[in-house]
């Protein structure tokens, strides 16, 4: 099996088979990652560029290590240090990178749809590393990988996503991916941060965090950007933590062995308490490890689209 599209723009259009294929490849990659020698020749002769218009530590590092472990030549461009600051259009920047023989461009951009625009204008494969409030597909794939590793399947799983759904590309990608795989996804958060029409994506919208958590198999907290408070979306950090934060007491409403995920970085004591984040049910650190494996898998699969070999 091969990936259908040149690009990984989102999970909205990815089939269950494709996700399954990424998962099985990622499992192999994780074995490599956990071995003594983190070096494979899979991407030898391939060149990969990360083009980040937004700050990022973990996603960028994760992609960078994934390419390095597999022997690719990689380079990084940041918005501040590149011609972006001089007003070059995204299309022109993309075509320039393309013309240098790049195989994969990994883009993060504050505006939804920017990776789509780039993908339409370059020959290279484009991976969306997060665009505005649209999608963050590699994050959702690593979340799904983490859950599947622990539970085998997403089918019938009750997943509660808690927090700022409105601004969250992580939530959107997870909603698409998890519902595709048969999970029952519920969301809860302040009504000012609940996107209109979200129920039409197939999720259940709960009016309280407590209701969403009842009997959940998976609990996902989302990062709340503290500056949202200044825009009047919630009254105070204190009140946010009080009514929407994930703490030990609330977590008890979920199943006893419910997994706790968070895409990071964490605001301790705001959307998630330290005890929950560092507790036994938390898989937050494993998510980070799995992120590298999933990204290795995606890079590998994208460079194999034209080859005649079977899956890894």
């Amino acid at each position: 099996m091969k990936l259908k599209n040149k690009d990984i723009l989102g999970l909205k259009d990815m089939t269950a088979e494709e996700i399954g294929h990424v998962m099985s490849t990622a499992r192999t990659m994780k074995m490599i990652l956990e071995s003594n020698s983190k070096k494979t020749p899979h991407l030898q002769g391939k060149s990969i560029v990360t083009l980040f218009y937004e700050n990022s530590t973990r996603t960028r590092l994760s992609f960078e290590l994934a390419s390095k472990y597999m022997g690719a030549s990689s380079a990084n461009i940041s918005a501040s240090s590149s011609s972006v600051a001089k007003g070059e259009t995204l299309i022109d920047t993309g075509k320039t990178i393309d013309a240098m023989g790049t195989d994969i461009i990994i883009i993060r951009h504050p505006m939804s749809g920017a990776p789509h625009l780039l993908a339409r204008n370059v020959k290279a494969s484009v991976i969306n590393a997060g665009d505005g409030m649209d999608e963050h597909p590699t994050q959702a794939l690593l979340d799904i990988f983490t859950i599947m590793e622990k539970r085998g399947s997403l089918k019938g799983m009750r997943v509660a996503i808690i927090g700022d759904i409105y601004h969250s590309r992580v939530a959107r990608s997870n909603i698409w991916g998890m519902t595709t795989l048969g999970a029952e996804v519920g969301v809860a958060g302040p009504s000012t941060l609940m996107p209109p029409g979200i129920e039409q994506t197939g999720v259940k919208v709960y009016s309280t965090v407590q209701e969403a958590l009842i009997d959940a198999d998976v609990v996902m907290g989302l990062r709340i950007q503290l500056e949202r408070q200044k825009k009047g979306l919630f009254p105070s950090i204190r009140e946010y933590a009080k009514y929407f934060g994930l703490d030990e007491k609330r977590l008890k409403l979920a199943k006893k062995d419910a997994l706790v995920l968070h895409p990071g970085p964490i605001n301790r004591g705001v959307e998630i308490s330290t005890f929950v984040a560092d507790g036994e049910q938390s898989v937050i650190n494993e998510q980070v490890t799995n992120g590298v494996a999933v990204r290795m898998a995606l890079l590998y699969l994208l460079t194999r689209r034209d080859s005649v070999e079977g899956p890894y």
Partner: protein, 430 residues
């Protein structure tokens, strides 16, 4: 020059004509309408059999981008585009550079239209100096220089107090204030209609309330000032309802919508299609149906184009960065035929009211009718001819349309301005 239009179906609600007649144009005016007009010497004859002969279309709302943004459009290209779309008179909005906030810019446009334009051009002046929303522009002088209305279109007049004064002052000069209704705090940084589609695309939504709140304010102020207000580009169900109620109460309000608000929904933004980015944004299906209802029951008086041409570079960017607007002249009439007349929502007579008579009356022009003695502004349309929208063929510099590839009914065969054919057999000849 004489023009004899034979056997066309003439529709002119103002003179009560709706049937097949011959029409004679002499010295730039309508000379005679009759069942049969005998041979006329030195006359260009047009066979309009099977076609509709309408008063030249009047557009109450367009952007010609001249002066200042000639790379988007200028008076020459804009008026040619209008003619191809069947428009013989167009009123252009003042968000040019410099803004049409003083009489010299009005005169510049009128002069340029006279030498380079092919249809009648009527400038609309700004409500406030520089459209900054701070001080009233010289509304009296604008009016006497030739401005047909005032508007800060493109943005609202934020201050309720200033809007009240504008309504009061403009009404002294028999000038209508055209209001772009948008509460900027509510629309915030939104780029499309708020709803399921904006959620899926992860684009910041503009709630329907952003328009309706301002419509409500302006209706209240117009009632208070007992002055006319014209609500531009009505796009939401809530606004239609508010205007309907106000009309019942006797408020001097008129309203317009544009073809994209009844022909499309926010689904057109799918795939981050920047050609569907427009302000106010394309609404939900419910909004589109309410706009059609408003057109049917007379709540909405005018179908205007809001022709807003942009350069390709301004649309071929991230959705958030793309300019708002649709190049509308060359599809407006066909969209109205296809989405309103063909499905039976309105008759051709109502279409003439919305696209000729009402805009002419509201802007105080003596256009929009084929009554004998009127200047011979005539549009001849075959409403049964189908075509596929191809923006590369547009005469406008702006190729920005979400209707590319749409199959539409209604081809403009002739556009006659002051007795002179500008479009003949679908071809621009001037």
């Amino acid at each position: 020059m004489r023009v004899l239009i034979r056997n066309g179906h003439i529709v002119d609600p103002e003179s009560g004509i709706d049937g097949v007649y011959d029409l004679l144009v002499e010295d730039g005016r309508i000379a005679e309408i009759n069942g049969f007009i005998g041979p006329v010497a030195n006359c260009c004859e047009i066979d309009a059999k099977g076609m509709y002969v309408l008063p030249g279309l009047v557009d109450a709302h367009c952007h010609l981008r001249d002066p200042g943004y000639e790379y988007k459009e200028d008076i020459e290209s804009g008026t040619r585009s209008a003619a191809v779309g069947g428009f013989t008179s167009i009123a252009c909005m003042p968000n040019t550079n410099p803004v049409i906030d003083n009489q010299s810019v009005v005169k510049y446009i009128l002069n340029k239209a006279k030498t380079e334009g092919v249809v009648n051009v009527y400038p609309i002046g700004a409500v406030t100096k520089g459209q900054k929303g701070e001080e009233l522009s010289e509304i009296g002088e604008l009016k006497f220089a030739g401005a047909v209305a005032i508007s800060d279109d493109g943005k609202p007049v934020r201050s309720s107090s200033l809007m009240k004064k504008a309504l009061q002052y403009a009404s002294m000069f028999d000038t209508t204030v055209i209001s772009h209704c948008e509460d900027p705090e509510l629309s915030d940084e939104g780029v499309m209609n708020e709803g399921y589609r904006s959620t899926v695309l992860g684009l910041k939504g503009i709630p329907a309330a952003a328009e309706a709140v301002m419509v409500a304010r302006d209706l209240i102020l117009a009632e208070y000032a007992n002055a006319p207000v014209h609500i531009a580009h009505v796009s939401t169900e809530m606004s239609v309802d508010l205007i309907r109620q106000a009309k019942k109460r006797g408020v001097k309000v008129t309203a317009e919508t544009c073809p994209h608000y009844f022909a499309l929904t926010d689904d057109a933004c799918e795939g981050y299609n920047t050609n569907a980015k427009v302000n106010p944004p394309l609404g939900s299906g419910k909004d589109a149906r309410a706009v059609i209802e408003g057109i049917k029951d007379g709540t909405i008086d005018i179908i205007a184009t809001d022709h807003a041409p942009h350069h390709v570079d301004e649309k071929n960017v991230e959705f958030n960065l793309a300019s708002s607007g649709i190049s509308g002249f060359e599809t407006a009439a066909s969209l109205a035929v296809t989405h309103l007349v063909k499905p039976g929502h309105i008759t051709m007579a109502q279409l003439v009211e919305k696209m000729c008579a009402n805009p002419s009356r509201i802007l105080g022009l003596s256009k929009g009718s084929l009554a004998v003695g009127r200047s011979a502004d005539i549009t001849i349309i075959d409403i049964n001819e189908e075509f596929t929208v191809d923006p590369s063929k547009f005469k406008s510099k702006g190729k920005n349309t979400p209707f590319a590839g749409h199959r539409l009914s209604g081809a403009v065969y002739y556009t006659i301005v002051g007795g002179e054919p500008v479009v003949s057999e679908k071809i621009l000849i001037r």
